[in-house]
Symmetry: D2
């Protein structure tokens, strides 16, 4: 499969903290999600998981985006999924896109956390895992069942979905 | 998006019947799953859903497979996901593959029903929706995070996963 | 059954809002939860549901607690469950307790919202429904599988549970 | 709390087996359910869990019912919840009831397994835990939000609920 999944935080990975009553980060849900997807079951052609960051994407600074870029550059794999907050997913995608790596990098996230009822997260992860294996080298955003080029997408905040610019 | 999702039943779509204590079919879970995935939200580039069959794939006869083929042939869409039981997914894929339609057809299913805890169904659906949009025309099986050509796959029943033949 | 369930909001009833990324209130989850519990199925000895308030219990003012008291006073039922935020559950219980109604009133809530993975809400609701039917008239708090008199309980905020004072 | 929870199997505790496509028994879900209910959290007044049997209640023989009786007799606790299949819950309750132990024993179960979407199991467990602490010594069945004496209850198989005989 030759696939790397990089966690950076975002809505996808938020947990509810019963002591504070807020959503925050703990260990990523991704290892359990990949096992549930039967992607990482023992003996199967496993994908590699990397817990890079655990940030709300509104808290992401340039230095964090450089860390994501470096992870993608360093990766032995040519097919990469980056799980990222939706609010600045486009900004990180632009940094990755400008670097013109010879890899297929798909950013995805969720409108509702994986651990909350009616979440889109698990679907999006599946969609991104396929897109990262099948799309030609480049940087993409995968949300609401669509794949967008990194320079042709915006988040429609009123409707809670991603749309092509043109 | 130009995508058609065809339900045929299978483990993916089984419901628990509290009166009999068995798993059986009711209305497909797919319309709700696609809405949860935010694929079919109002105003978005919607995909088309078709409730064709509701069968355990062990109960599928040649006549049923011909119905699936006819649905694929008749479809205006060139990108098709067929949700199917895993036990004879390969047989249906072979019928569709032999017909050599100029469409991308991806069969998927689940090892655990969508409505049961820890199900792989929603991930598989996302994976198949991406593969149907991105893979070149042909017939494929999408399971456990991998895409297989219809003539290069078998179900490993001991391990509960799909594997390439070669 | 002769049971009334009064919703006032609290963690139990919080929904995730995908547009703001915060937890807030929409229609109460309680009607669906009671149906899932098979309490309100058609033809069964139904309980009565009352959507009174939808507040974080930290936002509850004396006037709101008086509304809860009035609902309990007015109710034809002698067995009442009040679903309430945990932070000021004790304060509302004290108001109800001081009123010395000849009814069994059980306040309950949740440490994790009903709609979030691993929530205690549904268990607590079941526990409270039994306690409201079985305990002698008085005002109680039902949390973490225990029933406390309204004047013998505190929330341990460090451990996230309710404890008896003595 | 002084409460014992005895698992005997039943619909409540069924798991989906992805290799056979059937519902069967593995380790009981009850320890995780009790932790989720925050009943057994560290430092709390814990209840005792006993994994006695893992049977479909249609497969329960007299010898199994004697085992349940012996567990109840031997238990140091005076408040006991027995998680049991619904089909012969009444038969086991009759055996326990005839023994006239000076304990409060509440049998409960589920119409839908704990691990399946929309299950009533977790509510029923909460209801039974309260009833076992609050009802006077005797043997009861707790289902669909009601508590029935062991000799005044039947399962209505058409409607999927328990009803009083008189």
């Amino acid at each position: 499969m030759n696939l790397r999944i990089i966690a950076t935080g975002g809505t996808f990975d938020k947990h509810y903290d019963p002591l504070t009553g807020t959503l925050s980060f703990r260990d990523s849900v991704l290892p359990a999600a990949l096992q549930r997807a039967r992607v990482t079951q023992e003996g199967a052609q496993a994908c590699v998981f990397e817990a890079l960051l655990a940030l709300d994407s509104l808290d992401m600074q340039d230095t964090h985006r450089q860390q994501v870029l470096q992870s993608c550059q360093r990766a032995a794999e040519h097919h990469i999924v980056v799980v990222h907050g939706t609010d600045t997913m486009r900004e990180t995608a632009a940094i990755l896109g400008s670097a013109q790596l010879d890899k297929t990098i798909v950013l995805t996230g969720a409108m509702v956390p994986y651990l909350i009822d009616d979440s889109d997260a698990f679907f999006n992860l599946g969609f991104a895992c396929a897109a990262a294996q099948l799309a030609k080298p480049g940087v993409y955003i995968a949300m609401n069942g669509q794949l967008f080029g990194w320079d042709n997408v915006k988040k429609n905040r009123e409707l809670g979905r991603f749309e092509a610019l043109r």
